[in-house]
Amino acid sequence: MSWETVIGLEVHVQLLTRTKMFCGCPNRFGAEPNTLVCPVCLGLPGALPVPNAHAIRLAARAALALGCTVHGRSVFARKNYFYPDLPKGYQISQFDRPLATGGHVDLDSPERGRISVGITRLHVEEDAGKSIHDRIPGRTAIDLNRAGTPLAEIVSEPELRSPAEARAYLTVLKQILLYTGVSDCNMEEGSLRVDANISIRPEGATALGTKTEVKNMNSFGNVERALEAERQRQIALVEAGGRIEQVTMLFNAGSGEVRPMRSKEESHDYRYFPDPDLPPLVLTPQWIVEQQTALPELPDAKRDRLQREYGLPVYDAKVLCSERPLADYFEAVVRAGAEPKAAANWIMGEALAGYNETAVFAVEPARLAALIELVKEGTVSHQAAKRVYPELAGNGDSPKAVAERLGLIQVADTDALGRWVDEVLTAHPSEVARFKAGEAKLMGFFVGQVMRKSQGKADPKGVQPVLQERLSK
């Protein structure tokens, strides 16, 4: 039996606002517990929510970047359930009138080529606090600093067909969200969280199988692993004659396994109803257009443009566009005078390694461009330039000054070159004779010898003509 896998993903991202969704408490990670709290996010008697304009703005931008329709009228709803880190006993979210619906994420599926995965909806809601289970034995400790943080929930259509595709979707989704600056999408810090729904069905069937929910995955790699494990489990179960139950599975990163949640919970009845403390969210068409206009150039469009405008190959464009600061840096270096392909090579090589570690570019665009220019004019060799580059960090010296300091300036002066050539030819009379007798490939030997004699300083492009000239005498 051939099985098709059906996967849908729910992603929650924390929005980059100064304050929480419904109160003026700071929206900050890492503070002392229960210090970023107030009557509203503590759920004290008499407290009332007031929505954060910037959170709405960021959520709308995220929705537009994902090709969604942002609705002029959406409604906040209460999602009712009891849990120790949910102060009010309900979460303010959105239910049947969400902020946005109907978008898509385009990505390269590892199995199916270019695909477009639908986005069912994007809505805003507040985060719950944090429950800490292993701090005090037999008890749960709660920190409400996170309670009330603004979230955007992004729900995909169940159009992903493999765990690898799910991972690819997440990578592209994160890229788009980072481009728009709505979230820092950091799974380690919890600013991006993923829950997955997965089911299987016989290849060719149209009806959906029973799905399970998979939670507790803390990296995109683990999402893929968890879904692969759950997929195998479902297939094995069904092939052995069993039936899939609609349960929630938790992923264990250590073992790589999924197991059902211990509690035999009846599925939640959230009893959604419009929150009477919050009138409808009304957004004018004009305002929505303003958010669309404020969107930066998105990854796909930037990639296409980089290829067109700078003649870059697809691979280079992809790498440079993987993060917006990279692409911006590239364009700045080109604007400062560097030739695009050379700039791309340098950035994908030297600059990227440093950026991946420190999240900053060690060398400003103007100086990288200047370094690239030095190589182009032949003032330093490419090898030498690679030695100059690390020396440019942490100071303001011009690349030329650094090259000079390191003694790496290439010598192109024909007199100097002539002297070295003469020395080499004098030292290797038999090779000279053999060359003159017809062994043309000895030219490479002579060039190499001149480079050694000059300790790498000779400009290789200038050496060959001088050798030619001397050897033809």
Binding site: G24, N34, A53, Y83, R139, P280, L281, V282
Partner: protein, 99 residues
């Protein structure tokens, strides 16, 4: 529409309210009375969803994203029934276990 004791038990679970065995029959009877009373609304035809009532302003006023928390005259530590190392503390999750 009538309400039976299973439904009352189910709703008490959803609302996290313990109901003692002695109170239970009386409660079912009273809830039945109330549900029967409010079911008078069945006499009226259902209308379109957009005809629901809206109290208050037509659209919500949003707040600027400025740090301005309402000051607390009393800290969480002073209000909490159990508070250790800056954290609210409750018994183990048990039946409520989640990720």
């Amino acid at each position: 529409m009538k309400i039976g004791s299973e439904q009352v038990r189910h709703v008490a679970r959803l609302a996290e309210l313990a109901v003692s065995d002695d109170e239970f029959p009386r409660l079912v009877e009273q809830m039945g009375r109330i549900v029967e009373y409010v079911a008078q609304l069945d006499e009226l035809p259902a209308g379109p969803e957009r005809s629901a009532f809206l109290a208050g302003p037509e659209s919500v006023r949003l707040r600027e994203d400025e740090v301005r928390p309402t000051p607390l005259a009393r800290t969480p530590a002073q209000m909490a029934p159990e508070f250790v190392d800056g954290l609210f503390v409750v018994p183990r999750l048990g039946a409520m276990e989640e990720a």
